[in-house]
C-alpha cells in the first residue's frame, strides 16, 4: 500500500478546536446551571474557573479514597478474598493427588525455560508449541481440545475493562483490598457482564472461584472459531481454561474465557483483564501472546501467574 500523505496539522487543529469549544461550553454550562458554584467561589475569593479544576481533582481524590475505605470495610465485614485466594492457591498447588504434574514442579520460576523453549520456534507452529509448552509447564497444553479450536493461537492481546460479576457490581464493590484498587481500578468497568452473562446472580452469591475467574479472565474471538455455530459450542467456550504465554519474557498466566471479542476491526486477537496484562508484562514487551487450551477437566490447575 502507498503511504498516505501526512495531514497531521490540519487534523490536530480541527480536533483541538472542537474539543476546546466543547470544554468552553461545558464550563459555561457548569457556571450557568450551578450558580451556587460561582457564588461560593466569590465568597472564597477565587475564580469560578479555578473551582472547576480544583473541584474535579478534589472529587477524584475523594471518591477514590472513599472507594478504598469501602473496600477495606467490605473485607472486614465478611471474607477477605485477597488473602483467602492466595492461601487457596498455595493449597491447591500443594495437593498431592493431582492428575497433572503441576503440584511441586510449578513452584519454580519457569520463565527462562519458557523463553528458551520458544526462542527458535515459528509462532504459527502450533503442534510444536503445544508440545514444548506441555513439556516445559508440565501441564497438558493444546491448540485443539475435543476437536474445538480458536481462530488463532498467536496474536495481539488488548487491555480489557473489569467485568461486572453480578448485577450492580462496580468499581467500588469490585476490589477487595486497597492494593488491588490502586493497581487495577484504572481499567474501569465494562458496564456489564461478559458474553455469557454474570458470573453470579448477586454479591452474596459470589464465590472465591468466581472472583478468581474475573480476575484472570480472557477474551477470544470465539465467533471466529471454525467450530462456531451452535449454542453448545458457545457454552463449551465458557470458563474454558487457557494458558497465555508472553514469548518475549517467558511469563505464563492461566486464565479462563469469560468474554467474546475483540471486534475484528480493532486489529487485536485476544483480550485480557488488567491483572492478566500486568502479570504478562505486555506494557514492556509489546502485545503479542500465545494462547492455548489447558486440558484440565478436574479443574486442578490454579488461575493466575504460573510457575511461581
Amino acid at each position: 500500500m502507498w503511504p498516505i500523505k501526512k495531514k497531521k496539522s490540519r487534523h490536530f487543529k480541527k480536533l483541538s478546536e472542537k474539543l476546546e469549544e466543547k470544554k468552553t461550553q461545558a464550563l459555561e454550562s457548569l457556571k450557568e446551571r450551578h450558580k451556587e458554584v460561582v457564588l461560593w467561589a466569590k465568597k472564597k475569593g477565587i475564580k469560578a474557573d479555578e473551582v472547576v479544576g480544583k473541584s474535579a481533582r478534589g472529587l477524584a481524590a475523594g471518591v477514590a479514597t472513599g472507594a478504598m475505605v469501602l473496600s477495606v470495610g467490605a473485607a472486614q465485614n465478611g471474607r477477605q478474598p485477597s488473602k483467602n485466594l492466595t492461601d487457596q492457591k498455595e493449597i491447591r498447588r500443594d495437593v498431592s493427588d493431582l492428575n497433572v504434574r503441576a503440584g511441586v514442579g510449578a513452584k519454580r520460576d519457569i520463565t527462562p525455560f519458557v523463553k528458551k523453549a520458544l526462542s527458535k520456534v515459528d509462532m504459527d507452529d502450533e503442534k510444536k508449541i503445544s508440545k514444548l509448552l506441555s513439556d516445559t509447564l508440565q501441564i497438558p497444553v493444546t491448540e485443539e481440545l475435543s476437536g474445538i479450536r480458536l481462530n488463532t493461537t498467536y496474536g495481539i492481546m488488548g487491555y480489557e475493562s473489569h467485568l461486572s460479576r453480578y448485577p450492580g457490581d462496580n468499581l467500588y464493590s469490585h476490589f477487595h483490598s486497597n492494593t488491588e484498587f490502586q493497581a487495577f481500578s484504572k481499567a474501569g468497568m465494562a458496564g456489564g457482564p461478559g458474553a455469557w452473562g454474570y458470573l453470579a446472580p448477586s454479591r452474596g452469591a459470589l464465590t472465591d472461584k468466581e472472583i478468581e475467574r474475573e480476575k484472570y479472565y480472557l477474551v477470544a474471538q470465539t465467533f471466529l472459531s471454525p467450530n462456531w455455530g451452535s449454542p453448545a459450542i458457545k457454552q463449551w467456550f465458557r470458563h474454558r481454561k487457557m494458558v497465555v504465554v508472553n514469548p518475549k519474557n517467558g511469563v505464563v498466566v492461566v486464565g479462563v474465557l469469560e468474554d467474546a471479542g475483540p471486534q475484528v476491526e480493532t486489529g487485536r486477537n485476544f483480550g485480557g483483564s488488567s491483572e492478566v496484562i500486568e502479570e504478562l508484562g505486555l506494557r514492556k514487551t509489546g502485545p503479542y501472546v500465545l494462547m492455548y487450551f489447558v486440558d484440565d477437566p478436574k479443574d486442578q490447575i490454579p488461575l493466575g501467574r504460573y510457575g511461581l
Partner: protein, 108 residues
C-alpha cells in the same frame, strides 16, 4: 489526570479512532489531555446536578480543604448509584468524541 477520570473515562476507543488520523504522538497526547479535561468538567457537572442546592456548597467545602473520605461518603449518601451514573456519563462522552473524530476523518 484525575483518578476519577482514570477510573471512569476510558480512552481506548478514542485512541483507536485517533490512529486513523495523521497525528504525531505529541499531538495525540495533547488531544488526550484535552479529552481528560473535558471529562472532568462533564463528570463534575453530573455530581453537582444530582446534589441538592444545600449540599453543593457543603460538597465544595469538603473538597477544598476538607476530608476526601468525608466528601466521598457524602456523595454516596446523597446520590444513589453515583458510580454507575459517572460510568454512564463517561461512556456518553467517549462515544461523542469518537463521533467527532470519525466525522473529521470523513471530511475531505
Amino acid at each position: 489526570m484525575s483518578i476519577l477520570v482514570e477510573g471512569y473515562f476510558k480512552k481506548e476507543k478514542i485512541l483507536i479512532e485517533l490512529e486513523g488520523l495523521d497525528l504525531q504522538n505529541e499531538e495525540k497526547s495533547k488531544i488526550l489531555k484535552m479529552t481528560d479535561e473535558l471529562a472532568e468538567l462533564r463528570l463534575l457537572d453530573l455530581v453537582l446536578e444530582k446534589l441538592e442546592e444545600k449540599d453543593k456548597e457543603l460538597f465544595l467545602e469538603q473538597i477544598h480543604g476538607g476530608s476526601a473520605e468525608i466528601a466521598a461518603e457524602f456523595l454516596r449518601e446523597r446520590i444513589k448509584n453515583i458510580e454507575g451514573l459517572l460510568l454512564r456519563r463517561a461512556r456518553l462522552l467517549e462515544d461523542e468524541i469518537v463521533e467527532d473524530i470519525r466525522s473529521l476523518r470523513s471530511q475531505k
